[in-house]
C-alpha cells in the first residue's frame, strides 16, 4: 500500500488497516516529510548555504579582529541559526495544506499532534541538525576555541529542536494567510528569544571559562517541555487553519 | 510657575514623557470615536445597498 492510500484508509477506517498508533503516526509523517525533503536536496543545500553566507557577512560589517569576533561569535552563530530555521518554516505545512494531505491527517484516527510531531522532527533533521553540525566549522572563523566550539554544537543540538517546535506553531497559525514569511518571523522570533539567550549564553560562558551547565540544563528542560506541549498547540492551530 | 515647567532642569525628559502619554490618550480617544462612527456609517451603507453580499464595492477596508 502506498503511504497516501494508507493514510486515506486510516481516515476511512476501512477494515484491515489499523488506525495508526501515536508512534506510528509520528514515523509515518517523519518518513513522508524526509522523503519529500531529500527529493529536493538543492533546497536543503540552499538553506545551509544561507546560514554560511549570513555567518560570513558579519565580520565584514564589524571587524576582522580576533577580539571582536570572538565576542560576537556566539551571538552571530546563534542568531543566524534562528534565521535559517525561519527559512524552512513556511513550507512545513504549506505543501500538505495545498494538496489536502493535512486535512486527511486531521481527520485520520491517528492523533494530529503525532503527525505534527513527525513533521517537526523532519524539519529539525533537515534544518537544525545540519546547522548544529556545520556551526563549529564556521565557529573557527570567529576565533572560538575547542571548548567553546563543542558547547556551540551542544547548545545548538539541544536548542534547534526547540526552534523547530516553536516555529511550527507560527507556521500552522499563518497557513494560507497574507504576509507570508515576514508575518511568521514576527510571530515566532519573540518566542525564540529565551532559546537564543541561553544558547548563546552557554557558548559565552565557555569563552569566559565558566561552566555552561546551567544554560544547557535550562535548554534541555525547555526542550522537554516543548516536546510534550507544543504538538498539541500545533494541532490546534492546524485545525483552526483547516476549518 | 516657571519652575514647574522647568522641572529642575529636566524639562525635556519629563515633558517628553508626559507629553507622549497625553498625545497618545488624545489620539486614541479620537481614533476610537472615529472608528465607532465609521462602523455605524458603513453598517448604514451596507443596509441601504441591500446587505453584505453586495458589500465588496463599498467595503471600507474592513477596519478591525
Amino acid at each position: 500500500m502506498t503511504s497516501a492510500s494508507r493514510l486515506s484508509a486510516a481516515v476511512a477506517g476501512t477494515s484491515g488497516v489499523e488506525p495508526p498508533s501515536v508512534g506510528g503516526a509520528v514515523v509515518f509523517a517523519l518518513r513522508r516529510d524526509l522523503r519529500v525533503a531529500l527529493r529536493s536536496r538543492a533546497e536543503l543545500g540552499v538553506e545551509l548555504l544561507f546560514y554560511v553566507i549570513v555567518v560570513s557577512l558579519f565580520p565584514l560589517a564589524a571587524s576582522p579582529s580576533r577580539a571582536v569576533l570572538s565576542t560576537l561569535g556566539p551571538g552571530v552563530l546563534w542568531t543566524s541559526a534562528l534565521l535559517a530555521s525561519l527559512l524552512a518554516l513556511p513550507r512545513l505545512f504549506a505543501a500538505d495544506f495545498a494538496d489536502g494531505t493535512l486535512e486527511q491527517m486531521a481527520l485520520a484516527r491517528g492523533p494530529l499532534a503525532a503527525y505534527a510531531s513527525g513533521k517537526m522532527l523532519a524539519h529539525w533533521l533537515t534544518t537544525g541538525l545540519p546547522v548544529a553540525v556545520l556551526a563549529p566549522l564556521l565557529g573557527a572563523q570567529y576565533a572560538l576555541d575547542g571548548v567553546a566550539l563543542a558547547l556551540l554544537a551542544a547548545s545548538l543540538l539541544i536548542g534547534t529542536p526547540i526552534l523547530s517546535l516553536l516555529g511550527a506553531i507560527g507556521a500552522a497559525l499563518t497557513l494560507g494567510t497574507r504576509g507570508g514569511g515576514s508575518l511568521l518571523a514576527l510571530l515566532v522570533l519573540p518566542l525564540y528569544a529565551p532559546v537564543l539567550i541561553f544558547g548563546a549564553g552557554a557558548v559565552d560562558a565557555a569563552r569566559a571559562g565558566l561552566s555552561a551547565a546551567p544554560q544547557l540544563s535550562l535548554l534541555a528542560a525547555g526542550l522537554l517541555l516543548a516536546v510534550v506541549a507544543v504538538p498539541f498547540a500545533v494541532a490546534a492551530a492546524v485545525r483552526i487553519a483547516l476549518d | 510657575m516657571t519652575s514647574f515647567f522647568e522641572m529642575g532642569g529636566y524639562a525635556w525628559y519629563v515633558w517628553m514623557a508626559y507629553g507622549a502619554v497625553a498625545a497618545a490618550v488624545v489620539a486614541e480617544t479620537f481614533a476610537l470615536r472615529r472608528r465607532g462612527r465609521r462602523a455605524l456609517a458603513t453598517a448604514r451603507m451596507v443596509r441601504e445597498a441591500g446587505g453584505d453580499a453586495d458589500m465588496h464595492a463599498i467595503d471600507s477596508g474592513g477596519a478591525r
Binding site: 506553531i169 497559525l173 514576527l186 518566542l191 483552526i240 476549518d243 | 522641572m7 514623557a17 465607532g36
Partner: protein, 248 residues
C-alpha cells in the same frame, strides 16, 4: 435579585452595557489622572538623587504594569473564546490588543526618557525594558495575525492560540532576560532601583495606576463596541441601532 450574567454574553445585550461602562470608567480615569498628576507633578517632593526627572516614574510604572495586565486579560478572554467558542470574548481579546500595545510602547518611551538623565543612556538593556520590548512584539504579532486572516472566526481562534502561547512564554522570556541581564551587569544600571518611596510618592503611583487601569478598560470597551458593530452589521439589531443614530 440575581443578575443573569450570561445575558451579556451576546454582543447585542453587551453593546449598551459596554457603552455605559466605558463612559463610567472614562470618567473615573479622568478623576484619578487629575489627582495622580497633581501628586506626581506638584505635591510630591523633588527627589534628592534624581531631581525632578524621577517624576517620570508616575508614567513609566503604571504603563508598564498595564502592558502586562492587559496581556493577561487578553489571554484570559482568548481562553474563554476558545473554550466556550464565545464570539464576544474573542471580540474583547481583539479590542484589548491595541490598548496593550500602546501601554507597552508608552512604557518603553517613558523608560527611555527616564533612563537618559538618570543613568546617562536612553536605552539600557535592562531586564524589564527588554522584556517590555518583547511584550510589545508579542502584541504586534497578535494584531498583525488578525489583519492577515480574512475570515473573522478563524482570525479569532488563531489570535487566541497565539495569545495563549504568548502568555505562557512571557514569564519564561522575563526570566531568561533577567538572567541574561544580571550576567552582563557591567554597569550598575538597575531600573528597579527607583528612588526610596516616600508615602506620597507611593500614593501617586497607586493613583496613576488606577487611572491607567480605568483608561484601558474604557478604551477597550469603546473599541469592542466598534468591533461589535463592524462584525455584526448584517444583523437586525444593528439596523435598529442605526435607526436610532448614535449609541444609546
Amino acid at each position: 435579585m440575581i443578575v443573569n450574567w450570561f445575558r451579556y454574553a451576546s454582543p447585542v445585550s453587551f453593546y449598551p452595557l459596554a457603552g455605559r461602562l466605558a463612559r463610567g470608567f472614562g470618567a473615573l480615569a479622568a478623576v484619578f489622572a487629575a489627582i495622580g498628576l497633581w501628586i506626581g507633578l506638584v505635591a510630591a517632593p523633588t527627589d534628592a538623587t534624581q531631581g525632578d526627572a524621577y517624576r517620570i516614574i508616575f508614567i513609566h510604572v503604571p504603563t508598564a504594569w498595564m502592558a502586562m495586565i492587559v496581556y493577561v486579560a487578553m489571554a484570559f478572554w482568548s481562553a474563554v473564546a476558545l473554550g466556550l467558542n464565545a464570539r464576544l470574548s474573542a471580540m474583547m481579546a481583539q479590542a484589548l490588543a491595541p490598548t496593550g500595545a500602546l501601554m507597552a510602547a508608552l512604557a518603553l518611551w517613558s523608560g527611555a526618557f527616564w533612563g537618559r538623565p538618570t543613568w546617562g543612556t536612553y536605552w539600557a538593556w535592562d531586564a524589564r525594558m527588554t522584556s517590555t520590548l518583547i511584550l510589545l512584539f508579542l502584541y504586534l504579532g497578535v494584531i498583525a495575525l488578525r489583519q492577515a486572516i480574512d475570515e473573522p472566526r478563524r482570525a479569532d481562534r488563531a489570535c487566541a492560540v497565539l495569545a495563549l502561547v504568548g502568555v505562557v512564554n512571557v514569564p519564561i522570556i522575563y526570566f531568561s532576560v533577567r538572567w541574561w541581564n544580571t550576567l552582563h551587569q557591567g554597569s550598575s544600571i538597575s531600573l528597579t532601583a527607583a528612588p526610596k518611596m516616600a508615602m506620597i510618592m507611593l500614593a501617586g503611583l497607586l493613583v496613576m495606576t488606577a487611572a491607567a487601569w480605568c483608561y484601558c478598560i474604557a478604551a477597550s470597551l469603546t473599541r469592542v463596541r466598534a468591533i461589535i458593530v463592524e462584525r455584526e452589521r448584517g444583523s437586525g439589531w444593528v439596523a435598529s441601532l442605526i435607526g436610532i443614530g448614535t449609541s444609546p
